[in-house]
């Protein structure tokens, strides 16, 4: 019979089974149902003409609270469970006594699958599984083959032989086009997508040691560069989606958790007490609570987030309860972390030899007897340790037709590999959904998270921080003398003892965050749905610092304490209307419109005290100090008022159109520019659905072309910047010790406005052989105009810089993602691989300026005079700028020919670029580029029987690192420890050379030179995880439904030429002007761990 997907029916009060039979006749579809739910007493009336099958079924079944699945010409009708009594009742046994097979079907995690169609191949006999995944099907003879199918999973066929009990685990299909994808303010079918959106599911996210979800994204998504800049437990990452498009903004994507934008990202979290505690907003979400992460990359996807969408949007959806049996999952892992590699420095003897050389050369007083050194200390050994980590998560979920719940709690305790550093997280979450009536659903999401870190001081441009200073400490000094910490660890400078800091400082960062959201959804008329949601994000941060008198800073100040609090309250009201209409199965239209209000108010307070009689009270009693600074408040606020809209139109399921728009108003901008419009348009063409394509379909099952264009914005500037401002300072005037002065600190700029980013994206999605191989390729071009930048103004004005809209930046790139199911069957091998290329270019600066040297916010290291940052039109952000290192001056003859600040044999030599015979600032040039040529990741999953092996790698190629650490580790006149390669290659009087300067050379006039620029390319085996699913069915433990054990190694090995700790390390976080500058960064740990996951 010819099969059609449309139905024509005109019946009045007919029994439902008869109506279904005529649908079966018309469509050729097999219809399965349980006659307890569908019986001849149900009388229906319907009058349809050439309507889509689904529409007819909806009309027939919805009023009777029946639902259905369609898969491969089979319609399975079922009834959502209403009471628990029914849940446990087995499927009715067919009356006829004949052989049958029974068993349980579960998903990969052991969750029972309801509604799986179990059919006897080449027959009309079929059934569906119940809520516990149980099925029972009659078979005619031995050797029958059963076919298991359900939407979202790969179909499986199994020959039964003589088996009468058969349990099966179904695998989620690799790329199912019917998959639902979360988009801004709604969801859509993946097949209907016109924008560039990448989706990462929970099971792909939580591999290895994932302290927060951003770490789990590493290497997984094309166009998304996740960089773990610090190994500090709890520290965040920087995420760049399609490059850097703002100088002033932090270029971090907007994070949206269950529809709530995380207010202010990192900014709202920063404590203003000078304590280095950068933790990302995602630190406050337990990664195992996350169901999926969607990354919105192109303007079609992000424009709905308007003025905050320019750097991409990360949508996080947390897990929700599902109808069916109660489910309990317990996950535990524990592991050990250690330093991956030490930085190679000179031994005490080597150092003493170099010091003596320098002392002689510079006529410094001290000399060492190399055979009789005062001490031999390996400072790195003094601060690193093996550190344990443990993590526990417990989750309950389940529900029935009316009510669904997810309840989770977690505890993580991570010690850091630097002594005394640690991170603890306590998390609780409750997600609830309630069906109040047929038309009204309400729900709520609540999460409470507390974190408690002890922070190791790291990353400071002069390496006076503890991690950096450890690498500078002279190896001939001991950590302690006469039982007391030595104060300074160099010869003639003032670098405080880092070991005393790390061991003795109390440096607590304590935070709590409450995210709450309640929502209601109402079906107003068929097709029209209203959703109202109100959310709050309340976060509190506390910083507690105390430097006891045993430390250098503590001694200088007789005990120094700092406390700070930050408190931010954010609320959001989002109200949308969605209308869906289908016409004749040809046109499908979804229109969404809405209005939102958001407001955030933050306050902070900090206090510093010194001069304590005793160390016992630490930071707890500032009042006992002799000096107490005035506490300073630092309030900030912003409000955003927006209108949002989106229309999706699909014609014949082949031609797709998406229009989105947002009108955003923000308090942060000048009075003249409060509102801006952010529209986008996207078109999609599913070629594979065209009639002419059908002959190819066996090979290419999916082919879609996408094109989008739109505008997004960036508003990440602090509050009140468009207004002029007077600030106060307390001064001392004779006996008037607290006179208050007021002065203007900012020039007003009423024209201050958003950065606008226009983006065009061209994409193609291809699936081969039923998605055994699939490919996604996107090319894009982004242009950001009205770039915000605190541009230097003449200091003669009395001001240093003014935030202005200047210039423009371009990012263009290519992203390729491939996923393939290379082997299936008993031994299976899946892999995904992605690679992205992004090219960033500064197109223009205001009023014809071609260059900004040492731009505000760049690196100006006061101690070393290192200024490697530059903005230059035509070049990317993140170029490194300085002198070209030209080795060493070989001998007196050469020294006589060179005109630079110091010209003597063995001195460092730089190139005279402009050839004017002298070395001046004009001889500085581009000496490196911190932007990688390409980045990518490759994930492999192997499985055999219950065993699984996952290997995750990622890479970055072609980026440079300017190592301020290397700068310091070549300064012998300070008495710092020296880099090993410097010792080995240096110029000496006995062994002169022209490639490496001598010990004690005077580099400081030309410190920003290319000697300190390294290739930062790396390839990292990020994670290897071996897991085993213990076959619980054979264990005969009734309540146990799944048991998985796993062994995991994280940061297994990094292949790189970079001599520092971590080629990704960046001392300046997400500062776009200071990319690729490394110093004193907390190194990443190598981790080995063991875990167990139990489902009840």
């Amino acid at each position: 019979a010819t099969k059609s997907q449309t139905v024509t029916l005109k019946v009045k009060k007919q029994p439902l089974p008869e109506v279904l039979a005529s649908i079966k006749a018309q469509t050729g579809y097999l219809i399965l149902y349980n006659d307890r739910y569908v019986n001849p007493q149900m009388l229906v009336s319907i009058d349809v003409n050439n309507q889509r099958l689904e529409t007819v079924l909806d009309q027939l079944l919805s009023p009777r609270q029946l639902t259905y699945y369609i898969k491969d010409q089979t319609i399975a009708i079922r009834r959502p469970k209403t009471t628990s009594a029914q849940i446990t009742r087995p499927m009715p046994v067919p009356e006829v006594q004949q052989p049958e097979v029974s068993g349980t079907v579960t998903d990969e995690s052991g969750q029972p699958l309801e509604g799986v169609t179990v059919a006897v191949k080449n027959s009309r006999v079929a059934t569906i599984t119940d809520s516990n995944g149980n099925y029972r099907i009659p078979i005619s003879k031995d050797g029958t083959t059963l076919v298991f199918t359900i939407v979202g999973f790969d179909a499986q066929e199994h020959r039964m032989g003589t088996r009468r009990v058969f349990d099966l685990r179904l695998k989620a299909s690799l790329s199912d086009l019917d998959e639902v994808v979360v988009v801004g303010y709604g969801t859509t079918r993946k097949s209907d997508l016109t924008g560039s959106i990448a989706s990462v599911k929970s099971e792909d996210l939580n591999i290895g040691m994932v302290q927060s979800a951003d770490i789990g994204l590493r290497g997984k998504v094309a166009g998304v560069q996740v960089t773990q800049i610090s190994g500090q437990p709890g520290a965040g990452t920087t995420i760049r989606i399609r490059g850097t498009n703002s100088i002033q903004g932090n270029n971090e994507p907007l994070y949206v958790v269950d529809g709530i934008p995380l207010s202010g990202g990192n900014n709202a979290e920063g404590l203003a007490t000078g304590i280095d505690a950068s933790t990302s907003g995602l630190t406050h979400i337990s990664p195992s609570d996350i169901e999926s992460i969607e990354i919105l990359k192109d303007a079609s996807a992000t424009a709905i987030y308007g003025a905050r969408g320019a750097s991409g949007v990360v949508l996080i959806t947390t897990k929700r309860g599902k109808e069916g049996a109660s489910n309990v999952n317990f996950n535990v892992y524990t592991g050990m972390q250690q330093l991956d590699k030490k930085v190679e420095l000179t031994s005490p003897e080597e150092w003493a030899i170099m010091w003596n050389e320098a002392a002689e050369y510079l006529n410094l007083p001290t000399r060492y007897d190399v055979n009789n050194l005062p001490a031999r200390t390996d400072w790195q050994n003094e601060i690193y340790r093996k550190a344990p980590i443990q993590n526990y998560e417990l989750m309950f979920s389940g529900g029935n037709e009316k009510m669904r719940y997810m309840l989770s709690s977690g505890y993580m305790d991570q010690k850091g590999i630097v002594v005394n550093s640690s991170f603890k997280r306590y998390s609780f979450r409750l997600n609830l959904d309630r069906k109040v009536s047929d038309r009204l659903n309400i729900g709520a999401n609540f999460s409470v998270v507390g974190t408690n870190s002890n922070v190791a001081e790291s990353a400071n441009e002069n390496a006076t921080d503890a991690v950096g200073a450890t690498l500078l400490a002279s190896p001939t000094l001991s950590v302690k003398e006469n039982g007391e910490y030595i104060l300074y660890v160099d010869m003639d400078n003032k670098n405080p003892n880092p070991v005393s800091k790390l061991r003795e400082y109390v440096n607590k960062d304590i935070r709590s965050r409450l995210l709450g959201n309640i929502f209601g959804e109402l079906d107003i008329i068929p097709g029209l749905k209203a959703k109202v949601s109100f959310s709050m994000d309340v976060s509190n941060g506390k910083a507690n610092f105390y430097a006891p008198k045993s430390t250098t800073v503590g001694k200088l100040n007789e005990g120094l304490a700092r406390v700070g609090v930050v408190n931010t309250v954010y609320w959001n009201s989002t109200n949308t209307l969605t209308y869906t209409k289908e016409i004749n199965d040809i046109h499908r239209l979804t229109v969404m419109g809405g209005v939102t209000w958001e407001k955030s108010v933050g306050e902070s307070l900090s206090s510093t005290a010194s001069g304590f009689v005793t160390d016992l009270l630490t930071f707890n009693n500032l009042g006992s100090a002799t000096n107490l600074s005035t506490a300073s408040g630092n309030p900030n606020m912003f409000s955003i008022h927006s209108y949002i809209g989106r229309a999706n139109y699909s014609l014949l399921d082949r031609y797709l159109l998406t229009f989105t728009g947002r009108i955003d108003g923000s308090s942060r901008f000048g009075a003249e520019n409060k509102y801006a419009v952010f529209p986008s348009l996207a078109l999609g063409w599913r070629l594979s659905e065209e009639p002419f394509f059908q002959p190819l379909k066996a090979t290419v099952n999916n082919l879609k072309l996408r094109v989008s264009h739109g505008v997004t914005g960036e508003q990440a500037i602090p509050s009140f910047r468009s207004l002029s401002s007077l600030t106060s300072s307390v001064i001392i005037l004779g006996e008037d010790a607290n006179a208050v002065g007021f002065y203007q600190t900012r020039l007003p700029n009423p024209n201050l406005k958003w950065e606008r980013t226009r983006q065009t994206d061209l994409g193609i999605d291809v699936g081969f052989w039923n998605n055994r191989l699939s490919l996604v390729v996107d090319v894009y071009k982004k242009k950001t105009t009205d770039l915000l930048f605190a541009i230097d103004i003449p200091r003669t004005s009395g001001f240093q810089s003014a935030l202005q809209n200047i210039g423009s930046i371009e990012n263009k790139g290519l992203e390729v993602g491939v996923s393939a199911q290379l082997l299936s069957g008993k031994f299976s091998w899946d892999m995904t691989i992605n690679n992205s290329f992004n090219r960033n270019k500064l197109l223009a600066l205001s009023s014809g300026i071609q260059e900004i040297y040492n731009p505000t916010g760049g690196i100006i290291s006061g101690d070393t005079k290192s200024q490697p940052t530059l903005l230059r039109v035509g070049m990317p952000l993140g170029i490194l700028y300085g002198y070209v290192f030209d080795g060493a001056i070989l001998d007196e003859a050469e020294a006589a020919t060179i005109k630079q600040s110091r010209s003597a044999p063995g001195e460092l030599k730089v190139k005279d670029i402009d050839g004017d015979g002298a070395i001046t600032v004009a001889d500085k040039t581009i000496i490196g580029n911190a932007n990688p040529k390409y980045t990518g990741g490759w994930t492999n999953n192997f499985s055999y029987k219950g065993f699984g092996l996952m290997v995750l790698t990622h890479w970055s190629v072609g980026n440079n690192i300017y190592s301020l650490q290397h700068v310091m580790n070549t300064f012998m006149d300070r008495g710092y420890n020296m880099a090993k390669d410097f010792y080995l290659n240096r110029w000496t009087a006995e062994n002169p050379n022209n490639h490496t300067p001598r010990s004690g050379h005077d580099a400081r006039n030309y410190v920003d030179n290319s000697w300190h620029v390294f290739n930062g390319s790396f390839f990292r085996i990020k994670n290897i995880t071996l897991s085993y699913d213990i076959p619980v069915n054979t264990l005969d433990i009734k309540f146990l439904r799944g048991l998985r054990a796993y062994l995991s190694a994280d940061n297994v090995h990094t292949f790189t030429k970079y001599p520092g700790y971590n080629p990704e390390g960046s001392a300046f976080g997400n500062n776009s002007l200071a990319q690729g500058v490394d110093i004193g960064v907390y190194p990443n740990a190598k981790v080995f761990m063991l875990g167990l996951n139990v489902t009840f």
Binding site: L362, N493, N557, Y743, P794, R795, G798, N854
Partner: protein, 469 residues
Amino acid sequence: CADKFLEEQPRGEVTSEFYYRNDSEALAAVYGIYGMVFFYNGLLRQDMYLRPEASSDLFTYKPGAAFNARSFPQYFVDSENPLLLEMWSSAYDAIGRCNAVIGNLSKDHPGISEDIKAKLIGEALFFRALMNYYLVQIWGNVPLVVEEKTDLGELNVEQADPADVWQQIIEDAVAAVAALPEKSEYDNIQRARASKGAARLLLAKSYMALGNWNAADEQIDQIIGSAEYGLEATIVDVFKVANENGLESILEGNYSEGFTPRKHNSSMSFWLPREGFLGNSTYSPNDYALAMYNPNSARYKYYFSGKGVMVSPYGEAITTIEKRVYLMKFYDFEHRGGFAPTNNDNPFNNKVFRYADVLLMKAEVENELRGPTPVAHNMLNQIRGRAGEEPVEGITDKGAFREIVFTERAMELIGENHRYFDLKRRGKEYFLDKVRQSRPDEIKDHQFLLPIPEADLRVNPLLEQNPGY
């Protein structure tokens, strides 16, 4: 209603439209000038107080000192030096604050009394003159900014003729002399504020720099005749905390104990040794300077020995070591109640102008106008006598007496930010000659002026770099 929702209500900040409404707000605006001159990165807190002095012929540097700091005595300063930029920008920041006060108070403000208004304007004029006095001598060719900048589009100012800058300094100082009260007319608690005497002293110094000896003499006589000031009894008393803003004081940067918010004297750390005092010991007096003194004089002992507590700068483990000599004159052991490591917590005031300077100026001006008269000898010997030095008698040669006075100024006022400017007002040749006598690092001729900071050259196309840089 949406517009109201988006309106910014700054909290913790005041916008300028709502300022200058009453006396106390006007006074706070003037205190804002003090903030920029003496606090934060203020010139006379640290940079202008240290760098020119370190660049004179009296100081050397610690070899391991931060490059930017030691490039001053080493004559390595280039246009990108951040300390140079800090000096430049904090001077202009202070001038901007002065201009804001002068401009705003000159408008009609019913809430502010006329009497207070005139005095406050005088205070702002004094500081504007003081800033320009330093600027024009350090850089020579500097922009002259006399109006508050409010428009982002009109910020570029071109360099003025140094003669015009001097003209402005004189005008501002004359007006300040007229407007400001004498020190004794301030409440006791306010006596650290700029007074008529301070303005006269600045005016006299400016006249001296311009060679207008008669005008200088007149101002100096007015200061001496005002009976507002006198010499402390001993050289030790001059630097006692108890005598701060006292008899000998004309203008001081005031500091107190307290690590934050930066109330302490941060320039102290540059003089004090690392060991024991936890100082940075960036600059120390050189042999050339020390050779000027009679090592047995009370002044030498007090200035350099610091109660004899001279510690090895390198600590115990290192044995063969040369001692460096440190400038200890500002460190009041008595106030400390003994010896305590206090890098960040020195309360000692910076002496900007003190009466000993006036007497030596009188000696110099008298000599220029009338030769080495008994009056000139007397002025000089008042200072020498207190210092425990033999009096100078019977000098008849004007040139010889001039050099004696200059050497006395160097000895008495070492570390107090006078020497660099004393040398400069004697002309380029004299300056270069003196510096070359004292230090191994050869100064190049063009370094008579410091380079204009690169940061301003890059954003202001009207500026020209000083020749040679």
